[in-house]
């Protein structure tokens, strides 16, 4: 990051235009991408703090380990496929192709919806087997963490829906390249978050 290098500048010594005729930008990427970068850091902090709380709470005596249903492996696979579909769409649009971009992009979002439905089914199964939000803190954390993760996915699906509508109404994929790229990045991020969550939730 070139801004870090600049921290040693002595601005009182140099006059004139620094950096040629270009305006100043710390990163050579679109503003939306920089903003998403910051948002991902914020989301990482949110999930990390939940994780830390989880581990601290786990040490206390009323904690009773939870057996996670096997269906979570299936859900994980669906979310993985969702990420793959987004990546394929992104690759195509990156090469300037427009064939199948919409289909892949649409599939990515629908698979993510499938993941959320799958998560809800697991919630239902847990309820059926008598695992409620209270009193076991392990269950509280299970519902809380999966819920927060799903909320993040839903936020992403909002952007996905907006972009899909534009694609459906005939916009050229290359004009929506940035949106597709950012969705892909966000989906990969949420996949990684889910894998970490899955690991720590299983490890009670």
């Amino acid at each position: 990051m070139k801004s870090l290098k600049h921290l040693a500048d002595k601005p009182w010594e140099r006059k004139g235009i620094i950096g040629g005729l270009k305006p100043e930008g710390a990163f050579d990427s679109a503003a939306e991408k920089v903003a998403l970068g910051f948002f991902l850091i914020i989301a990482t902090i949110v999930f990390s703090l939940f994780t830390v709380s989880y581990f601290i709470r786990m040490e206390l005596p009323d904690w009773r380990p939870l057996t996670e249903p096997g269906q979570l492996w299936l859900n994980t696979g669906v979310l993985l496929l969702s990420s793959v579909a987004f990546q394929l769409a992104r690759n195509k649009v990156g090469r300037g192709e427009s064939r199948n971009v919409f289909a892949l992009f649409l599939a990515g979002g629908l698979l993510a919806l499938g993941f959320i439905v799958g998560q809800l089914l697991v919630w239902g199964d847990l309820q059926d087997s008598g695992v409620y939000l209270t009193p076991n803190p392990a269950a509280s954390f299970y519902y809380l963490l999966t819920g927060i993760h799903a909320v993040h996915l839903l936020g992403g699906l909002g952007v996905w829906g907006n972009t899909s509508l534009k694609l459906a109404s005939g916009s050229e994929p290359k004009d929506l390249r940035l949106s597709i790229e950012l969705c892909t990045l966000y989906w990969h991020f949420l996949l990684v978050v889910w894998l970490v969550m899955f690991a720590i939730l299983s490890n009670t």
Binding site: S3, H6, L7, A8, D9, K10, P11, W12, K15, G16, I17, I18, G19, L21, K22, P23, E24, G25, A26, F27, D28, S29, A30, A31, V34, A35, F38, F39, I41, I42, I45, V46, L49, F50, S53, I56, R57, L60, P61, D62, W63, L133, T134, P135, P137, S140, L144, I148, R177
Partner: protein
């Protein structure tokens, strides 16, 4: 797609067509700034009134029947929360951040104007939710602004049912609003600077606001996480924070939660929050001091590094708020050490402000009064921080008026003085009119001397062991009889300061109508916002052409220059340079002596 720097891209400004889109649903950063500022000040007045109610109770117990013990606790809580978050954070970042960042960066607006507008309206919703808690059954929460469980949700605490829920909801909504605004401020500073404006040529005001916003973006999540889990505990009966607890003889359904976990989360946000308020103040005051001292800021690079260092350190000191929570002594040792280390960059900044004044051609305008006043109150509050940062000294002083005096001095009075300095300093640009100088100076003396009369005696009360958060002190052996006299005097001073703030509002409203028309650059300042073609700047800020920056923001009193300031957008060639061969330093010195 080749990368095109933002300032080179055609910006589609949202052009307002009606009064409503121009002043209500506005996407212009300057209008949003004023909306943020107005809302923050309005809700701040509510908090001011609450503090006066508390002071009436403490100064004249059993004389006025204004508040009962429950509403005293509610006032304490709401006063603290409103002042720290809904006034100071919102006014510094939402208000000044919005107004100054695009102007000082030579941009036409924020990067995401729509999101910026949304940020204000969501903030307004959070304020409405907060104020709504005054009108629900049980009233607002009285748990103290730290909202420590388990007492927040226990029947003994006022507002334990609806009040706390609305408070947590309001905080969560505020954090959403702040995140939308904050992403804007950060990305605008990083990506939207005009030609020639490197990061190290930014005015310190932008540096302060920028780093504070990054702190906010990274610290508020801790509060959000804590608020979500506490909402679960309160509404859904989980036991994240709530331990097994007995309430009036009945065991509640909670079991095994960790109140200390909440304290860690809260202060992991809470300490950076202090610097979210302080860093913009540091930045703004640096620019005010330098401009009115007609001298470059002393040690610009060190000032920038100090801001960054303070920002980083602020994340590893949080548990110094928890020395009495029963932590491991080594923990206390660690946090005391990091806390005291923060004093180094902070002291460095204070030295640099004083050295900026040294031999300056000081113009004693109202903003300068407030800025110099800030140096006093900040040194004062900073020094008492050194006492409280040490575990052994903190233990006896904890929860006494010494703490109240310390944090009001360092993050109440000091940032407020900077806010007034900044409001008077930028008022001519924002309104196109000059304020009334005499009234502003009177406002300064009332506020400055008055706040000293409030907080100086509180230190002594604290050393005597007078506890904070008490509705009535009663008669206790260890408290000297003069305690009540001091409390009465403090209350009189507080009423005086509270009422004297009217001077500010009278000044603003009078000046908006009758003030002298302001020169575009009345202070002879270098930064870009004073170089706009229109005053106040119109939507889009810069007319046809964006400015180009050729120098840093602090070329004041450059030897040999025609004027004692050279704006940032003055090209090198225009600057009348001194012919070095004929430059006689002695002669120049004699000129300076005159």
């Amino acid at each position: 797609m080749a990368y095109v720097p933002l300032a080179d891209q055609e910006l589609e400004l949202h052009h307002p067509h009606s009064w409503v889109t121009k002043y209500v649903w506005s996407q212009d950063h300057k209008v949003i700034a004023i909306q943020y500022g107005g809302t923050a000040i309005a809700v701040g007045l509510v908090a001011l009134v609450l503090s006066l109610l508390m002071r009436m109770q403490l100064g004249f117990p059993e004389t006025f029947d204004l508040i009962d013990p429950n509403s005293y606790y509610q006032s304490v809580t709401m006063h603290g929360m409103i002042m720290v978050i809904y006034l100071l954070t919102a006014l510094f970042l939402g208000g000044f951040g919005n107004y100054l960042i695009p102007l000082m960066c030579g941009a036409r607006d924020m990067v995401f104007p729509f999101m910026n507008m949304l940020s204000y309206w969501v903030y307004l919703v959070s304020v409405i939710i907060l104020l709504a808690s005054f009108f629900v059954g049980g009233g607002p929460t009285g748990a103290g602004w730290t909202l420590y469980p388990p007492q927040t949700s226990m029947a003994g605490t006022p507002g334990h049912d609806m009040g706390i829920v609305l408070m947590l909801l309001s905080l969560a909504v505020f954090i959403v609003a702040f995140t939308m605004g904050g992403l804007n401020y950060v990305v605008t500073v990083l990506q939207y600077r005009c030609r020639g404006l490197t990061m190290m040529r930014l005015p310190l005001a932008v540096w302060g606001i920028f780093v504070a916003t990054v702190l906010g973006l990274f610290a508020f999540p801790a509060l959000l996480v804590a608020a979500i889990m506490m909402l679960f505990d309160t509404l859904l009966g989980t036991s994240f924070f709530m331990p097994a607890v007995i309430e009036s003889g009945t065991a509640l359904d909670y079991d095994g939660g960790s109140p200390i976990l909440f304290q860690h989360l809260f202060w992991f946000f809470g300490h950076p929050e202090v610097y979210i308020v302080a860093l913009p103040a540091f930045g703004l005051v640096s620019d005010v001091l330098s401009t009115h001292a007609r001298k470059n800021i002393f040690g610009y690079r060190m000032m920038v590094w100090a801001i960054i260092a303070i920002g980083l350190l602020s994340f590893i000191v949080w548990a110094h708020h928890m020395y009495v929570s029963g932590m491991h002594p080594y923990f206390g040792f660690f946090f005391a050490t990091t806390t005291l280390i923060i004093a180094v960059p902070t002291a460095l900044k204070v030295y640099n402000w004083v050295l900026t004044l040294w031999e300056g051609d000081i113009r004693m305008n109202a903003p300068m009064y407030f800025a110099i006043g800030f140096i006093f109150t900040f040194i004062h509050g900073g020094l008492t921080g050194l006492f409280l940062g040490n575990v052994v000294i903190d233990l006896p002083l904890s929860d006494t008026y010494f703490v109240v005096a310390h944090f009001h001095m360092v993050m109440g009075v000091s940032p407020i003085l900077v806010l007034f300095a900044a409001l008077y300093h930028w008022f001519p640009k924002m309104s196109g009119r000059m304020y009334h100088e005499g009234m502003a100076k009177l406002h300064f003396w009332c506020t400055f001397l008055g706040t000293y009369a409030i907080y100086l005696p509180m230190h002594y009360l604290g050393i005597h062991g007078v506890p904070r958060r008490y509705y009535a002190l009663g008669t206790t052996e260890f408290m000297v009889p003069a305690t009540q006299d001091a409390n009465t005097a403090i209350t009189i001073a507080a009423l005086f300061v509270g009422i004297s703030q009217l001077l500010f509002f009278i000044n603003v409203f009078w000046s908006l109508r009758n003030g002298e028309k302001a020169d575009p650059n009345p202070w002879g300042a270098n930064t870009l916002e004073w170089q706009t073609p229109d005053t106040p700047p119109i939507h889009g800020n810069w007319g046809d052409k964006l400015p180009t920056v050729y120098r840093w923001a602090y070329d004041y009193s450059v030897p040999g220059a025609h004027e004692d300031f050279i704006p940032q957008n003055t090209p090198e060639s225009v600057e009348p340079t001194v012919d070095e061969e004929h430059f006689d330093p002695d002669q120049d010195q004699s000129k300076a002596d005159l």
